[in-house]
Subunit: 110 residues, 2 copies
DNA sequence: ATAGTATATCGTAATATTACGATATACTGT
DNA sequence: ACAGTATATCGTAATATTACGATATACTAT
């Protein structure tokens, strides 16, 4: 993403942006939706379900894991991925905080 | 952002990702927070407030405008930028839809 | 008309992202 | 031990993002 002067913005601003950035790719949305929907998180299935190569899916999973939104558990040969609920909820709250700020400029700009 | 096989994902997935992507940079979060806070959206001020060059601020504003989250109105020499409420609320709803999906895997992965 | 101010756009360097094939790693069953 | 399966990592090409100086555009006041 180019250079991004992260250090010049507040911790809170960076936190919102970080979460949003991870959500900023349709493949990662698809992965999250799949993990949310499945009772059992059979996760090799993701490679079958998604229109992407195995290496690419693995890379997206890595980013979601790095952001803490999902967690993975080795189960024999395969790995079980799931939503990491506490972080997932924290992410929702952080985004909601932004959207719930009171708009004070109702009459501004037509 | 590399190639992004957008066309292989659903419209809904792309919509979520598109919104999140725009929110995925601290400068744009800072801009949005500023516009939300200010009663009057004196917008040349953004250049003073943000730790970025004028051209860079303009570029971020353009992206926010392209996503529909803000709107701009020329006022003499300067331009007044504001939150575009309908789209802003739609964005919140689209993100909330994702976070409000029922998690069916409470007992999955330790 | 001219100078001054504000914002947008252009061009471009540095860096990040996306995607995938190839390969490495790790486990399972024989 | 060995072959087979599942996942992760490496290397890399194509493309996107970020940032900024320079310049263009647009309006205002004199």
């Amino acid at each position: 993403m180019g250079v991004t002067k992260t250090q010049n913005f507040s911790g809170a601003q960076n936190r919102v942006a970080r979460i949003a950035k991870v959500l900023g790719h349709p493949a990662r949305i698809a992965i999250l939706e799949y993990l949310i929907k499945q009772q059992v998180c059979i996760c090799g299935d993701l490679v079958d379900v998604l229109p992407l190569a195995q290496a690419t899916v693995s890379q997206h999973l890595k980013e979601l894991k790095a952001a803490g939104l999902i967690k993975g558990e080795v189960e024999g040969t395969s790995v079980c991925y799931c939503i990491n609920e506490p972080v997932w909820e924290e992410a929702r709250d952080i985004l909601l905080n932004l959207f719930n700020l009171p708009l004070s400029n109702a009459s501004c700009c037509k």
